[in-house]
Point group: D3
Chain length 241, copies 6
Amino acid sequence: MSAEEAWAIFNVEPGQAYRNQYADGFQVLHPGHKMVGRAFTVQFMPTRPDVAGVMDSKAQTHGIPHLYNQVAIDMVQPGDVVVVDLFGKVEGGTIVGDNLFYYLANAAKAAGLVVDGSIRDLEGIAEIDMPAYFRKTHPSAIANVMLTGINVPVRIGGVTVMPGDLVLGDPEGVYFIPPQLVKQAVDNADIVHIHDEWTKKMFATGKYKSSEIYGSPKDPELKKQYEEYLKKRLAEIRKSQ
Amino acid sequence: MSAEEAWAIFNVEPGQAYRNQYADGFQVLHPGHKMVGRAFTVQFMPTRPDVAGVMDSKAQTHGIPHLYNQVAIDMVQPGDVVVVDLFGKVEGGTIVGDNLFYYLANAAKAAGLVVDGSIRDLEGIAEIDMPAYFRKTHPSAIANVMLTGINVPVRIGGVTVMPGDLVLGDPEGVYFIPPQLVKQAVDNADIVHIHDEWTKKMFATGKYKSSEIYGSPKDPELKKQYEEYLKKRLAEIRKSQ
Amino acid sequence: MSAEEAWAIFNVEPGQAYRNQYADGFQVLHPGHKMVGRAFTVQFMPTRPDVAGVMDSKAQTHGIPHLYNQVAIDMVQPGDVVVVDLFGKVEGGTIVGDNLFYYLANAAKAAGLVVDGSIRDLEGIAEIDMPAYFRKTHPSAIANVMLTGINVPVRIGGVTVMPGDLVLGDPEGVYFIPPQLVKQAVDNADIVHIHDEWTKKMFATGKYKSSEIYGSPKDPELKKQYEEYLKKRLAEIRKSQ
Amino acid sequence: MSAEEAWAIFNVEPGQAYRNQYADGFQVLHPGHKMVGRAFTVQFMPTRPDVAGVMDSKAQTHGIPHLYNQVAIDMVQPGDVVVVDLFGKVEGGTIVGDNLFYYLANAAKAAGLVVDGSIRDLEGIAEIDMPAYFRKTHPSAIANVMLTGINVPVRIGGVTVMPGDLVLGDPEGVYFIPPQLVKQAVDNADIVHIHDEWTKKMFATGKYKSSEIYGSPKDPELKKQYEEYLKKRLAEIRKSQ
Amino acid sequence: MSAEEAWAIFNVEPGQAYRNQYADGFQVLHPGHKMVGRAFTVQFMPTRPDVAGVMDSKAQTHGIPHLYNQVAIDMVQPGDVVVVDLFGKVEGGTIVGDNLFYYLANAAKAAGLVVDGSIRDLEGIAEIDMPAYFRKTHPSAIANVMLTGINVPVRIGGVTVMPGDLVLGDPEGVYFIPPQLVKQAVDNADIVHIHDEWTKKMFATGKYKSSEIYGSPKDPELKKQYEEYLKKRLAEIRKSQ
Amino acid sequence: MSAEEAWAIFNVEPGQAYRNQYADGFQVLHPGHKMVGRAFTVQFMPTRPDVAGVMDSKAQTHGIPHLYNQVAIDMVQPGDVVVVDLFGKVEGGTIVGDNLFYYLANAAKAAGLVVDGSIRDLEGIAEIDMPAYFRKTHPSAIANVMLTGINVPVRIGGVTVMPGDLVLGDPEGVYFIPPQLVKQAVDNADIVHIHDEWTKKMFATGKYKSSEIYGSPKDPELKKQYEEYLKKRLAEIRKSQ
């Protein structure tokens, strides 16, 4: 499913109001490698010694000596996309370098990383095959922030991301799909795919003006042809799943 | 106390690590009118129908039919500075227009407003005498956001603001001072004030180069004079409080 | 009528689709002085000698030796707001300096100036009492542009401005109101004014929470009071017009 | 011909005043694939129902039920570069997605696309081999704009583009060359090419400082050698055309 | 002399090539108070311990224990405009706070301050009557920079400022005039002043279109009148100097 | 050595204060090709005819008819990284096009180019195998600037670069390392390399949580293992050098 197909579900269907599920403006680590996974969310805020102190004390009662990025990273499960709100911080907003990125990809089997912040050691990270979306790179270590939440609602650009959202990344940006809408999104994507397939076939004949075929065919005979094609291909796709 | 004096406390004193208490980049409604009050914090996030629905249901069990900006505004107490995280949203990020601003100033007796977002009806608001700090103005009503917290920690620029913080605004920006540091901040501000008073007096004589007097006087005799002046003036100030 | 009141008409009323009538991001010459007038539009484009040559030749057949900013300025009538599309150009995008601004204000009796470009000689212009909205100031003269239209549709920010639009400027920004909507806009503004008047009166009593009164009173008795107040005040206003 | 060679013609030759023929700041779809074609221009402006209604009525008298992007796209001829003024709009400023891009490339045989706006479905478009220059990508469909001109003068960045201009795109940006200057541009580009060829040959010998050879050789003997080389190579090139 | 008048000298007169003498984009402390003085230039660069160490050692041989901003400030003479290159640094780029600003204005009798950087304590500084042009304000002290030159050429925006330049500031920006051009600039400014005076008088009659009078009167009789007016007024002005 | 390893030396080691040695925000010509060399610095400033005239006169007494970019380029030695301060200028800030870039790479055997400015003819340059870091590309020639220094201290972003600095470029940005710190930097980089090697080996086993291994192993047995590994690998590396 591409960002455009996801957009269609949330923004075109009447009565739907999920207008805020898309974020862009990222640097994309491997543009040719699509990202699909389940949101594991992490929230940071600017450090205050008084607040950080209280939180660390509480954590210690649970056996965690100090709250920092690796506390969250250690909890990542296979198939998770780690979604990190670092409020756009670049210097000192580096959620991982190549070692922890390697850990996420190879030990935790994470499905990807989205950070409204930065990463460090781009050179080392670029060799590791896991999708990542970040604002910038910076050589500094993470600093002057405190970990304030794991699997809480976080904000990434104009999106409220909930833990468990389906996260889709393509070269344009990232979509966060509430679990209850995934079935509808997948079905819709199949239809869009088939529509595009048929439309391009028609255009390839060179016999039609764009408006005769797209959005939907004007000629009733062609329309019927399209509808039969859609039905047949949908059946094929569903059988193959 | 000015922003410069507050900065001195947090950033210069050795061992202090409150480096993230200052936010700027605001439009200031009444630059000549300083803001002092206690933080009442409000958090919004981009709307998701699923999350908003759950929160509204919970609110209804407490007799609140729907969560929106006025639910928070109705709770404001005299002396509060309303501190609103609207994540920099301009269109649809207008926390108040002139009616609710009038309410805050005249009915709730609030001490001010800081919004990482916008206000609307600048013309009407400009006639009301309450300090306000905002990113922009926009004629739209607040929209496409959900109220997610009242008196929770919020982020304004690079600051984690806690409810109850002392909020100070001057023409440069806004300082958020943790309550436990207020006494130290006030004492320090007195010293800075007296130091500036004395320094300017010395400069006004026209007898000294800047480095002979400022930061601290080089000549031991002058230094002694300054220390006596400081002691005397501190005593006067404290007596008058 | 303020920007907020105009916005209400275009964006809140169901079935209305005039969503693109507001532009902001201007420097405002006299923020305390509202602008009201009829749009006189002027369009410039980047110079091309071939196009400029053809246009000058045509102009010469109408007795105009050369097309430049003063050709448009000479046509301005009393009550016009001159609306100039200079595509945001700053250096060389200065539609007027103090002499031509003086001409517009005092000889042409223009009602104001809106330029998506710049003006020059801010110091001289600031002494002249005509509203002006511009992106920046620059000391250069207008250059490297060609006059391509007078009283044609122009684009200012996200607005298509038509000659004859009612132009309203307040400290927030500028509204362009199609003539056929002016009556509705004025009527609506009266209602908003009265609503604000009554709302503030209620708030001034200190007896109500904001949500009891605003947007509309919850108590049926108060609601009735408000409706009577509205009726009475509307009658007074209309009589006085 | 590269952007640098085109620049040389317009900006260095004395008496030439075509200073505004270059636009940059685009995302380039296939940086390794140069774009060459004839400008087919399309203009959009922000929607106003009153203006759009009048234009649609006129179009209907010509058998076009509604003016929208496909009306223009259906008119594209082989060899056209579609040049679209969408005033930098990103959300809702998507001139084509992958279906219509496929149509342009494969059915209309267009030579390329330049849009001061966006495209959608980057993933699908990236597989189609036609040059494209755009400001951003966005998953939304085109919306809230009206088609106001086909083959009229349009503005792209700082350039007034005329229908019929020769459009050249390389990885740096896009050049719009008036047809009457194309012959001169091509001749000049040949000379620049030969000059670069000879200059690099000389540098490859390792015998010269840069200033002995470039801009033009200082030594009269070398200068003569260069002039003979230029003459010979020009003759070869022209023969081969 | 206004920025517009200065621009006219450098950019309009044929054969003049002083195209880079104007800088803008400043916050202006007292927009109603023009700045005129002689450039006293100060240069800072980002700190490097190795370089700073060598420079401090050299300074010590001249009796200066440490190079920092007050070394330069102590050298300021009455009538100097202090022109500081802090390469746009905001946090830690605060050349003065209210104490040193007071010193410059009242003890050193400086004519103004231009800093490509920031100042701190805007509130205190705003009470002191000396013109100042700065990029931003920040509560931090100057830090992490080293003083690398006093009365050396410095760059402010797109201008190379030389010590001794005449510095003119008005609400638009700042002009740096080489001393050898001051006489010509002043003479020219007188002519521009008289021209504006006469032009506005003519416009005030309401008898002329703008192009009949401005840039220069079209009617030969009016032109003669203007020339006589210019001659008479120039004589008056020069007599009064 | 990567940017991250260099950062570690300057920013983490206690007592070190080289906080300003890293610059980023460049377009990188060949991201897969690391840059290593010795800084050869060049400084330009905005042209002033009076200053340029004096400097050219002085240069003529040394046999240089005119100061311009090729005077510096002719002095470049094998292994130099040419570091050019063009104060971010894009149009007219093009230090080289493809001819002079070819000269630097093939005749002068330079190790790379860093310019706080632009280059022209990206297409031609992209074929030449020398690392380059620049802000933008532009088709114009260098213009309206004067050469003010060769092998003087220059500022690139937030860094003071000294001639002779070791310049390291990777896909993130550029590091300028003072010669006296190179030995320490290289040693440190070896340790970081070995640490990353060992850390990834441990993670690859899938037996550890990230915090058990990274930053340093928590288990004393593992810590000992790591220390032995480090010792052995350091010995191997140093032997191989």
